[in-house]
Symmetry: C3
Subunit: 344 residues, 3 copies
């Protein structure tokens, strides 16, 4: 839909345009990198300063932005959100046209709905159902009895094991693995035996899973991920976890078996969560935190550190530890003074 | 082999059935989720309480379980182990029938033994030997001169580099990568040059490697993983590591170059182990621990923390740190008292 | 080029041979594992001792090595580097002969230069350009408008998204994912919306990316990795990072959005780096360190711990914490003495 004009963009985001509203916009870019025909935006005070130097054709700015020296801007309540909306509507990613590539191997009993793109060397197993409008890129492997909801996107070389159920508008990035066996073994005298992993994985609508992220099947029952949840790259979700709705998890975090995460929780990167721990709704877990087995993080609570504790406590503790050398000096000094008093 | 009866299950696990031994069993499930025709089990006191509410048709219970109010149960010494055995014998995963999919690309010089399933778009290189009864799922890539023992399973999109040797009954999950170059470079004036990685990887029998787990080849010689060892998802095993037999390693743990792990060691998730460290037999490393370069963890010793130290020491230290604010108060108070004494 | 002689190897590395210079060399190995026809090397004092027991046909040794009892050696200034050079020139990995496998799916508009090997089931998208002499192993997926420089190697099942640009002589190991969407979402009332990820990834020459490593595309602009940089397995590089030239990063480290890493920095394994942090040139980050959002690590500085601080400070702090139990005893003792003085 590009090129377009400043006026048209103002319409799209319900903003108020000022300056050269007829100016042509041919693309979108960051403030520092935008050229004379690109749109950009100001997200905070820092970029307000950077705005002066930007070569961008037009900026989305907060309603109360002081536009001096005057340039072409569009005023909106939330520039970042408005920018996302404008880009999403004008710069839709090139959707491959519906087709099933002849090299794809699709079981006769599989059910591929209308308007799907199935790329080269994809394989889809028996009785699997692919919803309308799905895009499955090259090299992905989909097992038997899998369900994938409408308008989902599976990028290249992703793997979905048998019986996994995924909702509509899901995005699975390359290398993600859904439904591998949970890590469950029983020690028998001198060796480990596999505890059967006969459950499955159920993923809601509008879920995005990052590259090389793994969601294991349940031993019994289902590992679950709720609607709207987003996992970054290389996240590990073990067997029988229940991740709620609209949860956000940054890269390389791992959830051990049976962990429960409430709706709208926010979990940083490289967090480790022990077996059966519970992170309640809207809790916030700082990056790198370690949550012990069976621990409960309370609703809305920000926690950090290993073992994770309320953020304020953790910061106090960091500060205390930093003051340790000083403390040691104080004790030495006190000791000297007590010596003096004793010899007095 | 399903459906079956309570009596038949008691036979299978050498248990003692009580109650309606003719009752039909059609499946297996967790205590809370089992329906009126499913078998479940009680693993500890907590689930003994939950047992009362369970709708399960029959429960595997400890020998001394107080069955009140009475319900249909089977008494066994280890209910969890017995449950695993029963499920394994009655709920064998559907094994794909032996065939080589026409889209698989197999070198003429490769040797595929009897009763193998080779899925769509698999590729197998020159002179590789695949043992009898192996299952290699779609999209997996096996290089030249690879050996894979009998009855092994390779899930979709796994990658095995040239010359890797893997034993019998191995399970490699999707996205696992065996035999990539070790991370070895030599700094030469102003840039890094690759130190040749001409060794290989040798993996024993009955080993399971989780999804997206990586085992690098040795620079020289072999990276080794012993019989019966189980690695969870996204574990990193660097060049020249020697992981013993029946070792268990949880997700996202990383072993640097040349690490040695003794038999029956248990290593938690997200552990980091420095170059040439040694974890002796039956040691237990807590999740998130960091083991320094060349450190030795003694046989049977439980360790935790970063840098890892004996568990008791680590817990003491955590407790000490938690008491720091109180300690500071004590020092202030002492200081006040010494001031008073001095002015006396 | 094997077998060869000790004399010929001395020529190759400009070394000075002593002993049986006509002896035949058929391979290369570690000191402990080399047999009577293999070359090995001594890297430090420890292996000088081990050298005595080695069965190797010939050893590369430091110039001042005391060769007693005398054996066949070649003296060089840097034995490890010399060994790498010799192995690299004599043991070139078998390069597959140039061909495009008939099962590869290559867009008509793609441009494959001379002498490439394109393996089975590879897919290459529209308008992508593959430089001369590239090797792309089985199952790899390359999107549209990708550029891959001359003599690069892409191992099996790697995934490169649309529009990614990679330089010459790159090595991408299996399962690596380049150009997946950055993890950017905007919270809108009760759910997250995707912030468009319309940037790309630009990777320099001579870069090596480990197995299952992920480099995300930029939201706007480019995620960049400079010439000569080496990333180990399962490293995460988020959107808009700028990793400099000749940087080395060990396994499982994660860089959050917008992180900048200067040239010749060395980053250990399992390090976590917060949004927009900056690691300046030649800084050294210890394994497992956590660098907070927007933190700056100074040029050349070694840092460690979480939150990361200068190495010396961190070690002092570790020492202080270890002395805490002793400190508590001192305070108790002081308290007793003050009590005594007060009652005096």
């Amino acid at each position: 839909m590009l090129p377009t004009t400043v006026a048209r963009i103002a319409e799209l985001c319900n903003g108020k345009a000022e300056g050269d509203t007829g100016r042509t916009i041919t693309g979108f870019n960051a403030l520092e990198e935008a050229n004379e025909s690109e749109l950009s935006f100001i997200s905070n005070r820092k970029s307000a300063l950077a705005a002066e130097k930007s070569r961008a054709a037009c900026l989305l700015v907060p309603v109360n932005h002081e536009n001096a020296p005057p340039r072409t801007v569009i005023r909106v309540p939330e520039p970042r959100t408005a920018f996302a909306q404008v880009v999403t509507s004008l710069h839709a990613p090139a959707k491959p046209s519906a087709q099933i590539h002849p090299s794809a191997v699709i079981a006769i009993s599989a059910d591929i709905a209308a308007n799907c793109y199935i790329g080269p060397n994809v394989s889809i197993g028996e009785r699997s159902k692919i919803g309308a409008g799905c895009i499955i890129h090259a090299g992905s492997v989909i097992g038997d009895d899998v369900t994938l909801g409408e308008n989902s996107i599976v990028y290249g070389n992703a793997s979905i094991y048998d019986r996994v159920r995924i909702g509509a508008r899901a995005v699975l990035h390359s290398g993600s693995v859904i439904g591998a066996d949970g890590f469950g073994f029983v020690f028998n005298r001198d060796h480990y035996e596999k505890f059967p992993q006969i459950g499955t994985v159920v993923i809601g609508d509008d879920v995005e899973l990052g590259a090389n992220t793994c969601v294991d099947r349940a031993a019994l029952g289902s590992t679950r991920i709720g609607n709207g949840t987003k996992l970054d790259n290389m996240v590990h979700v073990a067997h029988n976890c229940e991740i709620g709705r609209h949860v956000v998890v940054a890269a390389q975090t791992g959830f051990s078996g049976g962990v429960v995460v409430g709706d709208y929780a926010v979990v940083g990167g490289q967090v480790g969560v022990g077996d059966k721990a519970k992170i309640e709704a809207k809790a916030v877990v700082g990056s790198g935190a370690g949550i012990l087995t069976s621990k409960i993080v309370r609703a809305g609570e920000p926690v950090w550190g290993t073992p994770a504790r309320p953020l304020r406590e953790h910061l106090q503790q960091l500060a205390s530890v930093a003051r340790l050398p000083q403390l040691m000096e104080q004790i030495k000094e006190l000791s000297r003074r007590v010596d003096a008093l004793s010899n007095h």
